[in-house]
C-alpha cells in the first residue's frame, strides 16, 4: 500500500499546487499584472487540452494496435493551426467582436441569435462530450489501479474497480476546482486567468512526463535512436499498414473537431486575447503536438516487447517504467496522465456549463419568472448558480455514464465517435463565417440532419447491440429495410463504420445546410449578423468597455442620436427624465420609456429593427452595441442620402416644369411661324398664278388683239406691282421687327405730315373719300421720323378708303394734345370692325374681310411696329360709330422741356 499512499499524497500535493497556481494567477490578474498571463506561451499551452488522457494513454495503445494511424488525429489540428490565417484568425476576431461565450453562442448569434440553434448545439456538445469526460475518469481510475495492484505484485491488466470510488472522488474534486476558478466572474467572455494558468502548468507536466518516458524508453531501454528505429522495424508494427481511407478521414475529422470541440473553442476563441498570441500558437501548438506524439511508437514497441502478452497497451506509459523499477518516472507519468484528464474535464465543464446555463437554464428561468429580470442583481446570482450547477451536472453526467457503461472497452472507441458528433457543427460554423447567404433554417436543417445521421450510424451502434439499437436492427436494418442498415446506409456495405458515418453525416448535413439556405430567406437580425460575421475584418476591433447596467441609457442615447438626430433625441430623453421626476438628462430605462423610444426609432428604421435594437441594448448580450452603432450609422447615412435625393428630385421637377413651359412657348412659336409661312406662300402665290396664267396665254395664243395684249400685260404688271409691294412690306416688317431700322428724326408739325399722307393716299382714291380735318389744331410739333409717321398715316387713310362701307365714306382726322402726348384719331363713318376681330387686326396677315382682298394684311402690323419704334403706340378706339384708330406719340415741346 505504500506506493499507492505515496501516490495519493503526491496527487493531493499536486492538486493543492494547482489550486495555488490558479489562486495566484487570479490575484495577479486582479491586481492588473496580466502581461505574463496573457503571453503567447500560456495561450499555446492552454490549447494543449486537445491532448487528453486519451492522447496520453490511448495514443500508445492505438499505436500498439493499429500502427501509425494515431498520428492522423494530431495532423488535422496541426494543419488547422498552421493555416490559422484561413479560419482560426477569423473565428478569434469574431469571438472578440461579438463577445462570444461558447461555440453554441457563436453559431446562434450568427443565425439571428436563434435560441433553437443554441439549444441544438448545446445538446450536441453535451451528448458528444459526456462519454469523453467518462473516458477521462476511467483513465484516472485505471492508472490508480495500476499502482494499487503494483503493491501486491504487478497486475498488468487491472479489472475495473466495481465501486468506482476513485472516479467519484476525482469527479467531485474536479467539480470543486472548476466551480471555484471557473465561475469567479459572471462575464463568460472574460478570461479565466486562474484556470488557464493551471491548464498551462498541466500542459507542461504532461509534455515533460511523456517526453521523460519516451527518452527513458529510447535511450534507457533501447540504447539509442538507431537501435530504437531498428527495433520498431523488427516489431509487429514493422510495416506501413494504415487504411488509406481512415488516414484521410481521420485527418479531416480531427481538423473539423479541433474547430468544433467546445473545450477547444473555449481556449482557442473565448479565452483568446489578441492576434499575437494566435500567431505564436500557430506554429508552437503544432510543435507541441509533434513532441507529444514523437515517442508514442517507441513506447508502444518497447511495451509490446517487454511486457507479457495481454497487457493493456493503453497503460504502457505507466507500466513500462514500473516494470523497469522506475517508480519515480512512473509517478511523473501518472501525474502527466492525471493532468491530461483533469485539464480536459475542467475546461470541458466550463465550456459546457456556459452553454447549458446560457442557452437552456436561463431561458427557462426567465420564462418561469415571467421575464422579471430588469433588476440586475438577481439575474447575476441566478446565472452564477446556474453555471455552478451545470458544472457539477456535466461532470456528474460523465461519472454517471462511466459507472453505467461499466468502463468497458466501448469507451476507448468513444474519442473518434465524439469527434464525429461535434464535427456536425462545422458546416453551419464555416458557412456562417464565410457565406452571407447561410440562413437559420439552413443551419437548423443541416445540424439536425447531421446529428440524427451521426446518432443512428455511429453513436448508437458504438454503444453496442442490445442498447437502443438491437443486433437485429444493426444486421438487417429497421424493420428489415436493408438500405437503412445503420452501418451500411443506401446499401453501401463493407465501409469502415467511422468513415461511413462521417461521410454520410457530413455530406447530408452540408447538403441540407446549403440547399435550405439557398431556398430560404433570412430575418433582419440574421442578415445584420451575417454581414458582421463575414465582414468582421472590415470593422475596427474597437474597445469592448460596454458592460450593461448604467451604460445602457447612454448607449440608447447614442443610438437614438444617430437615428433621430442629436437635438431631437436629447429633447426626447430630457422630456422623459422630467416625466420620471429626475433632474439629469438621462431617464431610467423603464419599460414605458423603452416603448416610447422604440416607437420613436421605428419611425426611422422600421418596427422590427427598432425592436431588435432596443432589445439588444437593453437585454441582449451577443449583438454588441458597436454593431448597432454601425447599423444606426448606416441608417443615418441612408436617411441623409434620401433627403438629398428628395431635394434633388424637387429641383428636377421644377426644372422640368420650366422646360415644359419653354417647350409650349416654342411649339406656339413654331405654329405661328408655320402659319406665317403658309400665309406668305399663299400671298405670293396668288399674284404669281395670275402672272403665269396671263403670260402663258400671251405666249401660246398665236394672235391676240392688240387691246387684249395691252389688257393682259397690264394685269401682269399690276400683279407684279402687287408682288413687289408685298415683298417690300415683308422686308419692311422684318427690318422693323429685327430693330435694324435707322430712324431719321427731325422736328415737324403733324399737319404737314398729314398733308403729305392725304396727298399720297388720295392718289388712288381721289374723290371717293371725304376727309375732314381741323388744320388749326394740327400745328403741333413732333420730333420723330416724319417719313415713317406719314407711312402710318397713309396706311390708315388708305384702309379707310378701302374698307369704309358707308354710302358716302367720310374720314375724320382730329389731332389733340393730352398731357405729354400728341393724339391723332382716325374715325370713319363705316360699320367699323367687329369686336372679336379687334384683337387680331394688328397681327400679320390679318384681314377684316376676305372678300375685300386689297392688301396682304401687313399694313397694320407694320404700323404697330413703326409706332413701337418711334416710342408711341397705335390702337383701336372702341365706342365710335365707325372704325376708329388712335395714334399716340410724344409731344416735341414737352420732350424739349424735359
Amino acid at each position: 500500500m505504500t506506493t499507492l499512499n505515496a501516490l495519493i499524497a503526491v496527487c493531493l500535493v499536486y492538486v493543492l499546487f494547482l489550486f495555488a497556481i490558479a489562486f495566484v494567477a487570479e490575484r495577479r490578474a486582479r491586481l492588473g499584472h496580466v502581461r505574463w498571463l496573457r503571453s503567447p506561451v500560456v495561450y499555446t499551452l492552454s490549447l494543449s487540452i486537445y491532448c487528453t488522457a486519451w492522447t496520453f494513454y490511448g495514443a500508445v495503445g492505438s499505436a500498439a494496435r493499429s500502427g501509425l494511424e494515431y498520428l492522423a488525429i494530431y495532423l488535422g489540428p496541426s494543419i488547422v493551426m498552421i493555416g490559422w490565417w484561413w479560419v482560426v484568425r477569423k473565428l478569434v476576431r469574431i469571438g472578440r467582436a461579438q463577445r462570444v461565450t461558447s461555440i453554441a453562442d457563436l453559431v446562434s448569434a450568427r443565425y439571428g441569435k436563434s435560441n433553437l440553434i443554441a439549444i441544438g448545439v448545446t445538446v450536441l456538445a453535451v451528448v458528444g462530450t459526456t462519454p469523453y469526460i467518462a473516458l477521462q475518469l476511467q483513465s484516472v481510475t485505471l492508472s490508480f489501479e495500476v499502482f494499487a495492484s503494483a503493491d501486491g505484485g504487478i497486475e498488468l491488466n487491472p479489472a475495473v474497480n466495481p465501486d468506482n470510488t476513485t472516479a467519484f472522488w476525482v469527479a467531485v474534486g474536479l467539480s470543486l476546482f472548476t466551480v471555484v476558478f471557473g465561475t469567479r466572474n459572471l462575464d463568460a467572455n472574460e478570461r479565466h486567468h486562474g484556470v488557464v494558468m493551471a491548464i498551462a502548468v498541466e500542459a507542461v507536466v504532461k509534455l515533460v512526463a511523456l517526453l521523460s518516458v519516451g527518452i527513458f524508453v529510447v535511450w534507457g531501454i533501447s540504447g539509442g535512436l538507431g537501435e530504437t528505429l531498428a527495433r520498431i522495424d523488427a516489431s509487429g508494427l514493422g510495416q506501413w499498414q494504415v487504411d488509406r481511407g481512415r488516414w484521410a478521414g481521420i485527418v479531416i475529422l480531427s481538423a473539423a473537431a479541433f474547430l468544433c470541440l467546445p473545450r477547444i473553442f473555449q481556449v482557442l476563441v473565448v479565452e483568446a486575447g489578441d492576434e499575437s498570441q494566435l500567431r505564436t500558437a500557430s506554429w508552437a501548438f503544432p510543435g507541441y503536438l509533434m513532441l507529444m506524439s514523437l515517442f508514442v511508437v517507441p513506447i508502444a514497441v518497447v511495451g509490446l516487447d517487454l511486457l507479457p502478452e495481454g497487457a493493456n497497451p493503453d497503460l504502457f506509459v505507466l507500466t513500462v517504467p514500473l516494470s523497469e523499477g522506475q517508480n519515480g518516472l512512473a509517478a511523473l507519468s501518472f501525474l502527466g496522465g492525471f493532468s491530461s484528464a483533469t485539464s480536459m474535464v475542467i475546461v470541458a465543464a466550463i465550456a459546457l456549463s456556459t452553454m447549458v446555463s446560457n442557452h437552456i437554464v436561463m431561458p427557462i428561468w426567465l420564462r418561469l419568472t415571467g421575464g422579471g429580470a430588469s433588476v440586475s442583481g438577481d439575474v447575476r446570482h441566478v446565472v452564477l448558480t446556474a453555471r455552478r450547477a451545470s458544472i457539477a451536472g456535466v461532470v456528474m453526467l460523465g461519472y454517471l455514464y462511466y459507472s453505467l457503461s461499466g468502463g468497458g472497452s466501448a469507451l476507448s472507441a468513444i474519442g473518434l465517435v465524439s469527434f464525429a458528433g461535434v464535427a456536425q457543427v462545422l458546416p453551419a460554423l464555416l458557412g456562417g463565417i464565410f457565406w452571407r447567404g447561410a440562413t437559420r433554417s439552413g443551419a437548423v436543417a443541416g445540424l439536425s440532419l447531421g446529428f440524427s445521421v451521426w446518432l443512428y450510424t455511429l453513436f448508437l451502434p458504438s454503444i453496442g447491440g442490445g442498447g437502443v439499437l438491437s443486433d437485429a436492427v444493426l444486421a438487417a436494418g429497421p424493420g428489415g429495410i436493408a438500405w437503412l442498415r445503420p452501418q451500411a446506409l443506401f446499401g453501401i456495405a463493407g465501409m469502415d463504420p467511422l468513415l461511413h458515418a462521417l461521410f454520410w453525416s457530413l455530406a447530408l448535413n452540408a447538403t441540407a445546410f446549403l440547399v435550405v439556405s439557398l431556398s430560404s430567406f433570412p430575418g433582419p437580425i440574421e442578415r445584420l449578423q451575417g454581414a458582421q460575421f463575414v465582414n468582421v475584418f472590415q470593422h475596427a476591433p474597437g474597445p469592448r468597455s460596454w458592460a450593461g447596467g448604467a451604460a445602457q441609457v447612454e448607449d440608447l442615447m447614442i443610438m437614438a442620436q444617430r437615428l433621430l438626430g442629436a437635438p431631437e433625441s436629447q429633447a426626447l430623453f430630457r422630456r422623459e427624465a422630467r416625466r420620471q421626476g429626475l433632474r439629469g438628462d438621462l431617464p431610467e430605462p423603464t419599460p414605458t420609456f423603452l416603448e416610447a423610444l422604440e416607437r420613436e426609432l421605428a419611425g426611422s428604421v422600421g418596427a422590427a429593427t427598432a425592436h431588435a435594437m432596443v432589445g439588444q441594448i437593453v437585454g441582449g448580450m451577443s449583438v454588441s452595441v458597436e454593431d448597432l452603432m454601425a447599423v444606426a450609422d448606416e441608417s443615418a447615412q441612408l436617411m441623409e442620402y434620401s433627403a438629398r435625393l428628395e431635394t434633388q428630385s424637387a429641383e428636377l421637377s421644377r426644372t422640368a416644369r420650366q422646360l415644359r413651359e419653354a417647350n409650349r412657348k416654342l411649339t406656339r412659336l413654331s405654329v405661328q411661324k408655320d402659319a406665317f409661312l403658309s400665309q406668305i406662300s399663299h400671298e405670293l402665290r396668288t399674284p404669281m398664278t395670275s402672272i403665269r396664267a396671263f403670260s402663258e396665254i400671251m405666249r401660246d395664243a398665236g394672235t391676240l388683239a392688240p387691246e387684249e395684249q395691252v389688257r393682259f400685260a397690264s394685269i401682269i404688271h399690276d400683279e407684279a406691282v402687287r408682288l413687289t409691294r408685298l415683298l417690300d412690306d415683308l422686308l419692311d416688317l422684318s427690318v422693323l421687327e429685327n430693330g435694324q431700322v435707322s430712324l431719321n428724326r427731325r422736328p415737324g408739325s403733324v399737319g404737314e405730315v398729314l398733308d403729305r399722307a392725304v396727298a399720297a393716299a388720295g392718289a388712288g382714291t381721289a374723290g371717293r373719300l371725304d376727309i375732314v380735318r381741323d388744320p388749326t389744331r394740327e400745328e403741333v410739333v413732333v420730333d420723330t421720323d416724319l417719313d415713317r409717321l406719314s407711312q402710318v398715316f397713309i396706311n390708315l387713310i388708305s384702309n379707310a378708303a378701302k374698307y369704309c362701307d358707308a354710302a358716302e365714306p367720310r374720314l375724320e382726322i382730329s389731332v389733340s394734345v393730352d398731357g405729354a402726348q400728341v393724339v391723332v384719331d382716325f374715325v370713319d363713318n363705316g360699320s367699323g370692325i367687329a369686336p372679336e376681330a379687334r384683337d387680331t387686326i394688328f397681327e400679320k396677315f390679318s384681314r377684316v374681310a376676305e372678300h375685300k382682298a386689297g392688301g396682304a394684311g401687313l399694313g397694320l402690323a407694320i404700323c404697330r411696329q413703326i409706332m413701337t419704334r418711334l416710342g408711341g403706340s397705335i390702337g383701336y378706339l372702341p365706342g365710335r360709330r365707325g372704325a376708329a384708330f388712335r395714334v399716340e406719340l410724344a409731344h416735341a415741346a414737352r420732350l424739349a422741356a424735359q
Binding site: G67, L68, L71, L75, S78, I79, V80, M81, I82, G83, W84, W85, W86, L229, A230, I232, D233, L237, G238, Q239, W240, Q241, V242, R244, W247, A248, V251, E275, S276, R279, T280, S282, W283, A284, P286, G287, M290, L294, V297
Partner: protein, 107 residues
Amino acid sequence: MSGPDGTGPGRGTPPGDPATPPIFLERRSYRRRRVRDAARLLPVLGLLGWTVPLLWPLGAAAPQVSSALVYLFVVWAVLVAAGAALSVLLARGEVEEDRDRAARRAP
C-alpha cells in the same frame, strides 16, 4: 539670379515630408501581402505532404514504419519551422503597418 535660393532642385520636398510617402512603402506593403499569401499556402503544403502516405503501397511492398515515421515527423518539423519563420515575418509586417498607419494619421 534665382537659382540657388529660389527654385533650385535643393528645395524639393524633404525626406520626411508626409505629403510624399517614401517610394519604398509600396514595396514593403507588397512584401507584407506576399507573406500573408505564404501563410495561406503553408497548410496546403502541409496537407500535400501528409497525404503522400496515401500513395504508399500496402502489403509486402509497404515501406518500413521507421522511415514512414521519420518522413512524417520531418514534414511536421519543417511545417513548424516555416510557420515560426512566417509568424516572425507577419509580426514584423504588422508592426510596420501600425507605424505606417500612425504616420499617415499624424502628418
